[in-house]
């Protein structure tokens, strides 16, 4: 039996990329009060290995730097309200079926025990005035306008 977990890594220092994206979206007519960005790793794994896998990800400096990132584990496997997940199609971050069968799923060269699948997303969280999560139409428009190139990326909205 496997469970799905999402490991979310977000900057704790100012996120210039999100600020630039927000300014561009506003200029293009998408009204948002705030835009947050995170790297998201959706992992299917043996629940007995969860702590080990999270510790491994926490140990990878190319993914997580404690001086500027926060890391949290989400039990949900899909976007929350106001959230857009963007995934690159044919991405190298997708674990291959062959690797999963062999129990050899790796990330940044590190073996992840008990993991049968791992996918990487960029999660954009959009807030409207008052801190409310942006509605699905606004999120979809932000994806179409700037945040996702459908030619090679896939956008997932709640």
């Amino acid at each position: 039996m496997t469970v799905t977990r999402c490991v979310e890594v977000a900057l704790t220092i100012p996120d210039n990329e999100a600020e630039t994206a927000l300014a561009t979206l506003r200029r293009l007519g998408v009204e948002l009060a705030e835009l947050r960005r995170a790297d998201l790793y959706r992992v299917e794994l043996d629940p007995a290995q969860e702590d080990t896998v999270v510790a491994t990800l926490r140990d990878l400096e190319t993914i997580y730097n404690p001086n500027k990132h926060s890391l949290r584990v989400r039990a949900d496997g899909k976007p929350q309200a106001g959230e857009l997940w963007v995934e690159e199609l044919q991405s190298e971050s997708r674990s291959s079926a062959a690797a999963a069968r062999a129990g050899q799923v790796r990330i940044a060269g590190r073996f992840l025990p008990g993991v049968t699948r791992i996918e990487r997303f960029t999660a954009w969280r959009m807030l409207e005035n008052g801190g409310e999560a942006a509605g699905p139409e606004v999120v979809a428009r932000a994806a179409q306008t700037l945040l996702c190139n459908p030619a090679f990326q896939k956008a997932t909205v709640r």
Binding site: N16, E17, T20, A21, T24, R27, L28, E88, L89, Q90, S91, E92, L146, L147, N149, P150, A151, F152, Q153
Partner: protein
């Protein structure tokens, strides 16, 4: 009156000087244009070159923010009016993100992109050759090249792999949008010649009208012998004039100049 070429600079552009030098070497009246330039002054250019670099630090995606920059309004307007637009490397990424190419069925949205190299997703800097894979006259910028012309260039990118849905790729290949493919020094198109896993072996694509060219490797970085990567450079050592003789990459700029002179 000679045609004027604007070489556009976004925050993060880094190849503008080499591009300017190549344009001026072939007699083009060219100048650098910063992102905060007067809009009407930008609109007044007769052609645009978008050089390489990391416009807006490639935030969101390579070329994505620059594609929506105010400067690009002038470029879109100009391209729609038939002005020539050449995007090199990051400039090519901007062209695809802005929908200026391929523009199948007159679409103005992004139908393709240059994205992370495959298989390793790593930055590559390597000398390459590209072969003209359309009839020269199909694209105004290549019209003065010989059929099947082979041009040397430097690939220098982490996101140079052409990616699009398979139906789009099929049309790019079949309907004359695939302007250059990677090849070896003899002009043979082989899988080994592709430095980045690009679909169709694509190094450059054009648009329906043939006035826009988006090319990933840098021909301006192989415009003179001292930049070239074969025996000719070694033979030229110690001879300044031989070192400064033009190399194959200049041919694309000569063709651009001829197109603008017509």
């Amino acid at each position: 009156m000679s045609k004027r070429v604007g070489i556009l600079i976004f925050p993060g552009t880094n190849s503008e000087e080499e591009t300017l030098r190549a344009c001026r070497a072939v007699g083009l009246d060219s100048e650098l244009v910063h992102w905060n330039a007067d809009f009407d002054a930008v609109r007044a250019f007769d052609a645009y070159v978008l050089p390489g670099g990391f416009a807006y630090e490639d935030r969101v995606r390579a070329g994505a923010i620059a594609a929506h920059d105010r400067l690009m309004l002038a470029v879109r307007e100009g391209a729609a009016a038939g002005k020539l637009v050449l995007g090199i490397c990051n400039g090519a990424q901007v062209v695809l993100e802005s929908g200026l190419a391929p523009g199948l069925d007159g679409a103005t949205n992004a139908q393709a992109g240059f994205t992370r190299n495959a298989p390793l997703g790593k930055y590559r800097s390597t000398h390459v050759y590209v072969k003209l894979s359309i009839p020269p006259e199909r694209c105004a910028i290549t019209a003065a090249l010989k059929p099947g012309a082979v041009i040397p260039a430097w690939a220098s990118h982490g996101e140079g792999r052409l990616a699009a849905h398979s139906a789009t790729l099929g049309r790019i290949a079949r309907e004359g949008f695939l302007a250059f493919t990677y090849c070896d020094a003899n002009g043979d198109v082989t899988p080994e010649a592709i430095p980045n896993g690009s679909a169709l072996g694509a190094a450059a694509i054009t648009n329906e009208r043939g006035n826009v060219l988006a090319i990933m490797p840098h021909p301006e970085r192989d415009a003179w012998t001292f930049m070239h990567h074969d025996a000719s450079r070694e033979q030229a050592r110690g001879d300044a004039s031989a070192m400064l003789a033009t190399s194959g990459g200049i041919a694309l700029f000569e063709s651009l100049a001829k197109a603008l002179a017509r």
